[in-house]
């Protein structure tokens, strides 16, 4: 009993370190130290847990820690910055599955001990334990397959398109009701054999539901999905904390759950859509009509001519999108920015909150390319100065610069805050081909009088510009 108190005190310290760590992650100056502090909290939580007297055998614990450290360490070293959304999705999924397994292992313990002995040991009534075990399993399971599916969509292993079919919502609702019904039965029954069957069916349904929930969500809405799954992975850990009656799991998991939820809300707001709309509407699955009959054709410009314009510009704003990540163009973009600066131009990067496939995706890519973070300007700060900008260079972004969002009430993206590239004196749009954006809309920006398209691979185009400038 004495030593249990020591363990719990150390858990309080760990939780405090998590809180400080998260707080420090909120500023670029302190973020790295914040991450270390939160890591230190994790380390002492792990070490003190190893001293728990309930542990009978260390062999497998050490094996597990070693294997996990190797895999995690190698993955963290090798991952490309452009693939960060995939990695985070995968880690979310692992966390979710771990929580599911912890809940399951606890249920196995109940099967060994019987409800009576287990409840006496936990000091909690059986119905409480069964509710939280089911919850931890459910949230963890949905997080796991949802994240894996999101990973598949992000990495291109499965189609990133939203998949909708007739009766999809009804089917999802049905599965969800089945999950709840089995949960109620699982809590209700004291019979362990029946409980075991119900639990296994519950796992299967939770895993199925994770896939079905992510299915109707398209690639461009991934920032919302990843944020939400991040929140879920925290909630799963928190639920696992209720299962084993452990405060540090409850607190840490809940902190993550809250942070993921806030990011989710920020992402939704940046698209002017509700969470319900993102999750259920199958946005982007159906191709929209061509709009209001604007039949002006986009005008193309050669790289050579673009160079003359850039060379004469005194202020340039780059607006990157997912296309920059796909083309791996961040390094040449940075080089171009530097050359333009040397040429006397004022260079900034305008970052839309949902540009890319996860929150902050563009910032990480540009940071990797050594662009100083004070050059990365948020949407609300760049828009007021847009009319004074000589050239706005849109690199692989589409919907986030579509002026239809501000002036066409019939547009599905009407009301979404955008980076007002169209207000710049000249707009260059780097684009692979004449395809549409994620929303399936024709972008009105492309046909404006001050817009010029530069077709081709973004990286190749920018490299050419760099060579011209060096020339």
């Amino acid at each position: 009993m004495e030593f249990d108190n020591v363990i719990n005190l150390v858990y309080v310290i760990a939780a405090t370190l998590f809180v400080f760590g998260i707080k420090m992650l909120g500023s670029a100056e302190t973020a790295r130290r914040g991450n270390l502090i939160s890591g230190a909290g994790m380390l002492i939580a792990i070490v003190i847990t190893l001293l728990d007297q309930g542990i009978l055998d260390f062999k497998w614990i050490i094996a597990g820690l070693v294997v996990g450290t190797l895999i995690g360490g190698i993955a963290a070293r090798l991952v490309k910055m452009t693939s960060m959304p995939e990695l985070v999705a995968l880690f979310n999924g692992f966390g979710g599955l771990a929580s599911l397994l912890v809940a399951w292992a606890e249920f196995e313990k109940i099967k060994d001990f019987g409800w009576g002995a287990y409840s006496a040991e936990m000091g909690a009534p059986g119905y409480f334990s069964s509710i939280v075990i089911y919850l931890a399993m459910l949230i963890g399971g949905i997080t796991f397959t949802g994240s894996l599916y999101a990973y598949g969509k992000l990495s291109g292993r499965v189609s990133g398109q939203a998949k909708v079919f007739a009766g999809q919502k009804a089917l999802n609702a049905l599965v969800f009701i089945a999950i709840l019904a089995i949960g109620v039965l699982f809590t209700w029954t004291g019979d362990l054999a029946l409980g075991d069957t119900l639990f296994l069916v519950g796992i299967a349904l939770a895993l199925l539901f994770g896939v079905m929930a992510v299915m109707p969500i398209g690639g461009g809405d991934m920032p919302v999905v990843i944020s939400l799954l991040n929140s879920f992975s925290g909630l799963a850990a928190s639920a696992a904390g209720f299962v084993i009656g452990n405060n540090v799991l409850i607190v840490a998991g809940c902190l993550v759950g809250a942070s993921g939820l806030i990011l989710t809300a920020i992402m939704c707001k940046a698209m002017n859509r509700t969470l319900g709309n993102v999750l259920f509407s199958g946005f982007g699955a159906t191709s929209q009509s061509e709009g209001d009959g604007d039949d002006r054709e986009p005008k193309a410009i050669s790289v050579q001519d673009a160079y003359y314009v850039l060379e004469a510009a005194s202020s340039v704003v780059f607006i990157p999108g997912y296309g920059m990540a796909v083309a791996q163009a961040q390094h040449v973009v940075k080089e171009l920015g530097e050359l333009l600066e040397e040429n006397g131009a004022d260079v900034n990067f305008a970052i839309h909150p949902v540009a890319g496939r996860m929150p902050g995706h563009m910032n990480v890519l540009l940071a990797e390319a050594d662009v100083p973070y004070d050059q990365l300007v948020e949407m609300d700060n760049i828009n007021p100065i847009m009319p004074t900008v000589d050239v706005a260079v849109v690199i692989g972004a589409n919907d986030v610069v579509n002026p239809a969002a501000t002036d066409d009430e019939t547009s599905p993206i009407y009301g979404m805050p955008i980076i007002e590239a169209h207000k710049a004196k000249t707009v260059f749009i780097l684009k692979r081909g004449q395809g549409k954006g994620f929303s399936g809309l024709v972008n009105k920006l492309f046909v404006l009088d001050n817009s010029r398209m530069i077709y081709g691979d973004a990286k190749a185009t920018i490299s050419e510009l760099v060579n011209e400038l060096k020339g």
Binding site: V19, G26, W60, V88, D112, I226, A252, C254, G360, E378
Partner: protein
């Protein structure tokens, strides 16, 4: 174990989390997400207990072991990759 106390802690932690994150600038969203993702690997504590407290070779122990591997990947990978990202965030040094 006082169940109401656990809920109390949960609710307070939720409000604390909401307060802490609300002001994070958007440029740090990715590291925030991967860093908090690493924290959600705290399940590792539950996994250690489950692996160690169940008898060798039982289903519970095997499940605990799998949970431990996954949670460790989550923790170690999450912290390292966050550090790798944050290391790249630099101010202009001119």
């Amino acid at each position: 174990m006082d169940l109401v106390l656990l809920f109390f802690i949960f609710v307070l932690a939720a409000f604390l989390g909401l307060e802490l994150i609300a002001k994070v600038p958007s440029q740090l969203h990715t590291p925030l997400m991967s860093g908090s993702n690493a924290i959600s690997g705290i399940t590792i504590v539950g996994a250690i207990v489950a692996t160690g407290a169940n008898l060798n070779g039982t289903v519970g122990m095997i499940l605990g072991f799998l949970a431990l591997v996954l949670a460790t990947i989550n923790v170690v990978g999450g912290y390292l990759v966050t550090d790798r990202m944050l290391q790249m965030f630099k101010k202009k040094d001119k």
